[in-house]
């Protein structure tokens, strides 16, 4: 089975040079995305079969590439299989979407060669079983995604986004490189050897911090998130969906693989670090998202929020595992992984919808959209499903994973450590706040873009997108609903992963009556998505039919409520900024140093009044700014070395040699 997987990955890699040839042909992008769709679907199905295999085999293989005495080790176990499913489900959906969307690409030569290579890189990361292959695949993934980010290179903003992304990606890889260096100092680079070794507590703790930095910078943990909202929206929309929905999950995989699998039993304080990174990430991410007007940037910031939720789940799992409560750890871990899967589904869906809107209208600014539900009804419906799912409303899938997460948080009084007893409920409060903000954020996104009246001509003349894009969005929406009403199937599929990583599993779900979900025991709490769905569907149908039957059937068209103005302009509607103004007033001054400057002309002047809002990113100002200044200062000082005389260079070499020899001899 692992050979099928590796062959499919190799075919994806081989497609990259083919992409150069195909990009010059009129039907080339269709053929390339079609091939990607077939290959990713194959990978996805193979991984699902492996995950559902009752024997849960661990397959290994070694290829004679890479370091000469090491080779490239690959391993397919439950964890890799789960993440392969996430990656390739997202990849298949993106390829299906791109069958239609990719036709509008102006320079296909800048996207087509990198796209299959990027998909292959992500798959190899989760298959790698030695540090060298892992890092090479990780860097390959970063570089190909960077190439996709700067594919529309004429835009100066994209180039800047690519630059920041490249810097942060290098930083992350450096942290991971150091982490693996520390881990592999005794046993070598093979993961199996690292797993069997017993690093000291201090070394393991160092590795955890480095891995949190390395994977956190790729996943977008605050304060390492600065690149994410720049880079993700800059790429073509199907790639944005992949970067947000899938690549951040590869980073989560890296964290889980190293911290839960390769390292020995966790120390008690690791979980605190992870929780303190995850909780604020969730709240801050969604607060940023609420302040944005750019539809793709809202989605990128919302990714940061979801990454915060996932890391909170992983932190909880670490906390419970360190205290020996592995049945709760299994609950938190499963919730985190389920959220990984769910977020990949609905974030891809939402980015595809944003891509369809962008392709149809040419704008990403919400203040120029509006009324799209009439012009793009099918896209609007799929987007509605995505918005409801990401807002964690039942009966969709987002609710299930967040609900399971809160069930684990509610069990925190069982933790013996007082520090965790105090921190975990506080983090729970942050998550609840984030969930409420997320709902507000997506009400805003959907309401401003799709409802109301068009705010610009391009929005008024929008058209429905093509059938491939719609097929991709509707299949993802269907999966969102399926995972929402039958979560037991998905939880049971995750059992082998949880068994391997935290040593215990959640109770078996599929045998329960009425397809309920029971996190611990039926006496405590249970949830039945199917019931909620049937109830909501029945109520909705009954209400609709009652209205249609009982209300007057005379059709009457009249002007909408017009605030007393007879000739209402679309500009007097709620705007994106005005919708989020209350939240900005409450939290903005604290988090963004937001200031509102109202300028009223004197009574005699005909000038219009102006209201300006200033917001600063405090993390950017407080953390990145000083670092950039320090680096600039240091480089100017070091630059002197560029202009020395020949003899000074000789002397430098000589002194360096002497110092090194002294180090050897002393």
């Amino acid at each position: 089975m692992i050979s099928v997987v590796l062959w499919a990955v190799a075919c994806l890699l081989a497609l990259a040079p083919v992409g150069i040839v195909l990009s010059a042909r009129p039907r080339g992008s269709f053929m390339l995305y079609g091939a990607c769709l077939v290959l990713t679907a194959t990978l996805c199905i193979t991984a699902v079969l492996h995950l559902l295999d009752p024997a849960h085999p661990v397959l290994r293989t070694t290829l004679p590439v890479g370091l000469p005495w090491l080779g490239a080790h690959f391993r397919l176990d439950a964890l890799s299989a789960f993440f392969l499913v996430v990656i390739n489900l997202g990849g298949a959906a993106a390829s299906l979407f791109a069958l239609g969307y990719g036709r509008h690409e102006e320079q296909p030569g800048r996207v087509l060669p990198f796209y299959p290579a990027y998909l292959a890189g992500m798959s190899v990361v989760v298959l790698a079983n030695d540090a060298f292959s892992f890092l090479v695949a990780w860097e390959f993934m970063s570089l190909t995604s960077w190439a996709l980010v700067v594919s529309h290179h004429r835009d100066a903003e994209n180039i800047r986004a690519g630059y920041v992304y490249l810097l942060m990606a290098s930083f992350g890889t450096l942290a991971l490189l150091l982490a693996f260096g520390a881990l592999a100092s005794g046993p070598g680079y093979d993961f199996d050897a690292i797993r069997a070794s017993h690093p000291s507590a201090a070394l393991s703790s160092l590795v955890v911090i480095l891995v949190l930095l390395g994977t956190g910078s790729k996943a977008g943990l605050v304060p390492l998130h600065a690149w994410l909202p720049l880079a993700h929206p800059a790429a073509p929309s199907h790639v944005s969906g992949l970067m947000s929905g899938v690549m951040t999950k590869v980073a989560v995989y890296g964290f889980v693989r190293i911290v839960f699998d390769l390292l020995p039993e966790p120390e008690w304080w690791w979980s605190m670090v992870v929780l303190l990174a995850g909780g604020p990430t969730a709240t801050l991410g969604v607060l940023y998202a609420l302040m944005q007007r750019d539809i793709k940037r809202v989605l990128a910031y919302s990714t940061i929020e979801n990454i915060g939720i996932i890391f909170t789940g992983l932190g909880l799992a670490l906390a419970f595992k360190a205290q020996g409560l592995d049945w709760v750890a299994a609950l938190a871990f499963t919730a985190a992984l389920l959220h990984v899967f769910n977020h990949a589904l609905f974030k891809s869906l939402l980015f595809f919808g944003a891509g369809a809107v962008l392709e149809s209208t040419g704008v990403r600014d919400m203040e120029k959209l509006g009324g799209l539900i009439h012009r793009m009804p099918k896209t609007a419906f799929a987007m509605l499903v995505g918005c409801v799912a990401i807002s964690a409303l039942p009966p969709f899938n987002g609710f299930v994973s967040e609900w399971l997460m809160f069930q684990a948080i509610l069990l925190s009084p069982q933790l013996p450590s007082w520090g965790l007893k105090l921190i975990v409920p506080a983090i729970g409060g942050l998550l609840a706040l984030a969930a409420a903000f997320a709902a507000a954020c997506f009400v805003k996104l959907y309401g401003i873009s799709f409802l109301g009246r068009p705010r610009s001509d391009v929005a008024a003349s929008a058209h429905e997108t093509d059938r491939f894009s719609l097929a991709a969005m509707f299949s993802l929406a269907a999966l969102c609903l399926l995972a929402g009403i039958l979560p037991g199937l998905f939880i049971d599929a995750l059992a082998p992963v949880s068994k391997a990583m935290v040593g215990n599993v959640m109770p078996h779900q599929t045998g329960l009556e009425w397809l309920s979900v029971v996190p611990i025991a039926e006496s405590r709490s249970s949830y039945n998505g199917l019931l909620v769905f049937v109830f909501a569907a029945l109520c909705g149908t009954a209400a609709a039919s009652a209205i249609h039957r009982l209300a007057s059937d005379r059709l009457r068209r009249a002007p909408a409520w017009d605030c007393g103005y007879p000739d209402a302009d679309p500009a007097i509607q709620y705007s994106a900024s005005s919708f989020s103004q209350p939240i900005r007033r409450v939290f903005g001054s604290l988090v963004f140093a937001a200031r509102e400057i109202g300028e009223m002309p004197p009574p005699s002047s005909p000038r219009p009044a102006r209201l300006t809002v200033e917001m600063r990113d405090l993390i950017w100002d407080g953390l990145y700014g000083p670092i950039a200044i320090a680096i600039g200062f240091a480089t100017i000082r070091i630059n002197v070395l560029q202009f020395l005389t020949i003899r000074s260079y000789l002397t430098l070499v000589f002194v360096a040699l002497i110092v090194l020899l002294l180090v050897v001899s002393l």
Partner: protein, 220 residues
């Protein structure tokens, strides 16, 4: 290996270090070249002795290359260059002779400590040889660092290369190909540097590299 053979090898390698020390304090170019010729001859002797001791006839070829190229052709050529450049009367102010000698002694001590510490497994001849070779290399570098004249820097570089050859022949089983390639690379470096010397001379009327620095105007 008899103790006499070992002692003679030791003596020759030690003489090479001694010749390096002699080069350190020569402040006239002609005498520097003469000492360099002596340096290369001692190297040739030492390599020939190694060839005899190790019963490795190809090392005789190396010794011959050292004798012909380094002890005869290169010094003669440099003599002529110096004469054509008209700098044979120049006196080079070496940074205080005492200080340089002290530094040289320190370097020899350092290379002894390093080599004896990192090669406990090798046989005695190779160890001594490597220690002396490292001293010669470091002294060559020191000559390059302390000199201002481009010709003396070239000489320092070639004495450094002699140290490399000594190290290569001291270790058993070094193929001739390596030595020939090293010798030829030095020859080419010599030619290139010689051509550059004339170009520098044409442009600046001096082969003092400080003139170059002044011209660049970048002495920060």
């Amino acid at each position: 290996m008899s103790s006499l053979q070992f002692d003679i090898a030791h003596l020759l390698a030690g003489s090479l270090v001694l010749a390096s020390f002699m080069m350190l304090y020569q402040d006239r170019l002609y005498s520097l070249l003469n000492v360099y010729a002596l340096h290369a001859s001692v190297l040739a002797l030492s390599v020939a002795w190694q060839a005899y001791v190790q019963a490795a006839p190809h090392l005789y070829v190396t010794a011959l290359i050292a004798l012909v190229f380094k002890a005869i052709i290169i010094p003669v050529a440099l003599h002529r260059i110096i004469k054509r450049l008209g700098i044979h009367r120049e006196i080079e102010n070496v940074i205080g002779i005492g200080l340089t000698m002290m530094a040289g002694i320190g370097l020899v001590a350092l290379s002894m400590v390093v080599m004896l510490r990192v090669t406990p497994g090798a046989d005695a001849l190779a160890r001594e040889d490597l220690a002396f070779a490292l001293s010669v290399v470091l002294l060559g570098l020191l000559i390059m660092v302390t000199r201002r004249n481009a010709v003396s820097q070239v000489v320092g570089f070639m004495s450094l290369e002699n140290g490399l050859v000594l190290a290569a022949t001291g270790a058993k089983g070094m193929p001739l190909v390596v030595e020939i390639s090293v010798a030829f690379s030095v020859l080419i470096a010599f030619i290139v540097i010689g051509i550059f010397l004339f170009r520098i001379r044409e442009r600046f009327d001096s082969v003092d590299v400080q003139a170059l620095d002044r011209f660049r105007g970048e002495r920060r």
